[in-house]
Amino acid sequence: MFDSAMGRRQRGAHEVQKLNLNSMMDMLSIILVFLLANSSAEEQDFVIAKNLNLPNSHSSLGFSKAVQVKLTRKELLIEDTFVAKVSNAKIVGVDIDGGKIVPLYNMLQRYRSLSRDADKTTVVFQAEKTFPFEVLNQVMRTAAMAGYPNFRFAIQKK
């Protein structure tokens, strides 16, 4: 009895045990399917500004390219260019003439003259979801005066 057990052990030492990859393959397949479902080349182009929580919405409208105006908790930006400081949900330290944010108006007009986009009337607007309408309205009104009356509010899909 001892001999036979010993023999088995010796034989086993020379056998190369194959790694069972089936469970590993199952796991990788699940990860792959999940990632394929979540990958999107389109959303790669869209950069959300820092210090910003976008509102949640059921909208199914996809991303479209246009000049981006970002109203974060700390600053107002066009693309990544600083326009004005934001403090306590108010735009501060800039000239406001008849409800028009002067530096924003000037920069938007410059963008409009330089833009090669087919749609020169639309702004993609990223804004903090907790901000009151009065501050958003200031930005929207300025953009409309600068020739951008159409907006695409960036939202986080529910």
Partner: protein
């Protein structure tokens, strides 16, 4: 007597497939978006020399939703309906337990849409202190309604897809 040999089942070589998976995973991780971004299309009213945007046919109205800190106030405008007809579309939807009653707003607008099927424009007029998220919620309720299909599934149908954001004239 002839001995029948059982055919030996060879294990499938999964290593190349695993290599492929292992290369694809980092690539997909780079392009994965766990934060799904969408857009809501709106416009602001502009002054023009053209004719009024108010609907002139009897099958459509423009709804106005005023968002105040107390709830929603709805009114309608049209170029062809009488004052009395427009007045019948007025409504006030107060907040419920401190929250805006989005469901009631959606139901009310659905009723208006069924009566005036050609309607597609809604004017959203938030008060200065209304939060951006509340404004987006109202626009969501105004854009689509859910309709049950014959198969029992629910389908989204356009309610007032053209949203114009305006402010109260003080």
């Amino acid at each position: 007597m002839v001995k029948l040999h059982k055919p030996k089942i060879e294990d499938l070589d999964l290593i190349p497939l695993m290599n492929l998976f292992v290369t694809m995973i980092p690539l997909l991780l780079l392009t994965a978006a766990f934060y799904h971004i969408g857009m809501v299309s709106v416009s602001v009213p502009t002054q023009s020399d053209d004719v009024s945007d108010l609907p002139v046919d009897r099958a459509s109205v423009t709804m106005n939703v005023q968002i105040t800190t107390n709830g929603y106030t709805l009114t309608a405008s049209s170029g062809s309906l009488s004052e009395a007809e427009l007045k019948s579309l007025d409504a006030v939807i107060p907040k419920r337990k401190g929250k805006y009653d989005i469901k009631k707003l959606n139901t009310y607008l659905e009723k208006v849409k069924r009566r005036y099927e050609q309607s597609d424009t809604i004017m959203v007029i938030p008060a200065p202190k209304v939060k951006y998220q509340d404004m987006v919620n109202a626009m969501d309720a105004a854009r689509y309604m859910e309709v049950a299909t014959t198969s029992g599934k629910k389908r989204k149908m356009a309610l007032f897809p053209v949203v114009v954001v305006s402010s109260l004239v003080e």
